[in-house]
Amino acid sequence: MAVLDLSEVSKSYRTHLSVRRYWILRDLSLSVREGEIFGFIGPNGAGKTTTIKLALGLLFPDGGTVELFGQEASRPEARRHVGFLPENPYFYDYLTGFEFLDFHARLFGIRSPGRRRRVLDLLERVGLANRADRQLRLYSKGMLQRIGLAQALVNDPRLVILDEPMSGLDPIGRREVRDLILDLKASGRTVFFSTHILSDTEMICDRVGMLVKGSLKAVGAVEDLLHGETPPYWEVALRWQGREALPCGRVVSCREDRLLVRVESRPDLHRLLAFLDRPGATLVSVAPARRSLEDLLLREVRGDVVPAAGPESGPQAEEEGMRHAG
């Protein structure tokens, strides 16, 4: 069952003074299944945040339908089981961490006896239990992100929507968010998040949707998207103190006894690895330099910049679109 379903959704933008419309999304169709982690990727200005806002009833589509758990997204009840964390969130500065979560809990109608317990648990879970009495004004960015995540989970939602949850976090923070998302999936929740940090996406997403200039260029499991992209080469880092030449591959760089060798085929790789199975040789690492999502994305983005006829395409339109979009 689709927890989030966008069907032929279009959204345009028009500044107050001009008549021209800028299309942010065009006939976007997207479906998120229960229990999956869906990564929504794309360059800045592609329309990711706009899509998320449409999903939450914060914006209204020009055309098409948006449904949450089978209900129209603009209806308040559709969001009962949804948690949301916006990008660069602004919260009420003057509230303390506890008050903030308590307020949001009240908005869900969570009643007094259990509410306090729930808030404390959440604070514990995001690691802010000892900062609960400080005003949000005094929180660091990482802390704000964490309290934001706590807020998104206050109603124990079935679907969690996160807009750039890892932006501005240090690697530790990013790791924590990744773990949280995986935890959520483990307990049966669905997570939909947008990001432009592709490495994280590859690691944790079940499915990925790639949005470029308002259209979905690719959607599916990561492996499927990169299917058929056999690695063109491997990079093998090794230490070889002997004098014998390596059986195959090309030395890319060399420093004292450390070598970086490039091997072009699988049989060659095996040959090299077998060679290293002798005294004086140490294998340091093998890195398949396969096509990644990043390559795919760059290809999709660059591929569209081939100019077509008509006033709406071209670099200026792209600029405009990016400025007004998500």
């Binding site: 209204f60 589509p61 020009d62 055309g63 098409g64 339908t65 129209e72 603009s74």
Partner: protein, 288 residues
Amino acid sequence: MKRARAARTAGAPLAATAGGLILLAALMQMRLDAVVRAGEGPSPLLYLPSGRYLKVVSLGFDPILADALYLWSIQYYSNYRIEDRYSNLEHIYKDIITEIDPHHLDAYLTGALIMSAEARRPDLALALLDKGIERNPGAWILAFDAGYLCYQDLRDYARAGAYFEKALRAPDVHPQVRRFSAEMTNRAGDRRASLKEWVAIHQTSPDDYVRTIAWNHVHDLKVQIDLEDLTFAVAAYRSRAGRLPRRLDDLVPAGLVSSVPLDPEERPYEYEPVAGRVAYGGSRVLGR
């Protein structure tokens, strides 16, 4: 597309309800206005503190405040339903508006007009104008207005003349004021001075029309003065000689006139020896 548009118009019932409520509120407003009108007490402005206090409180906006009050006062005094509206004329114009802005000429003029023409209190009007004249010596119109008031309502020509003279001291005074002044001098009784003024006007005016007017006045004044002088001389002759002179020329050797004046048309004045009356053969231009 259709579903989106349908959702958009769903806000219409809310807006319609809002409109309905505002309509009902308008009804409440009408009832409120009715209550207020029924119990219409003295106007709130009557309880304004003094103008000097207002000037301080207005924080530099005194001209605007004076204007606003002036505008209000016009509306107030045009409202014939308020029966006792004249009871605070002086307070409003003299103590408040002109205190806030002493150079607000309209306030003086209109206030004086209301005071004299509608409230029939020329004394108040003159007091107001006096204040204006004192604070605005260059504004001849105030003195002129005061003079005109004395002339028209009080028929106090001497006082009017004094005001007109004050007005004449201003550098850019309207030339007609001089003519008024000259005429007031006449009305006040000093014909000779009046004649002098009219002669001066005649000589200095560049305008044919004005010169004609001046000449007319000079003409009649001369006749009046001459007749007065001659009648006086005839009477003096009679009391001295015991009889009326036979001819006007007889007055000269008697030393009562230095010479017998001719009338403006250069004819001798008519003299009727039996009754001793001197008369002018022509007709007075201004018919007086």
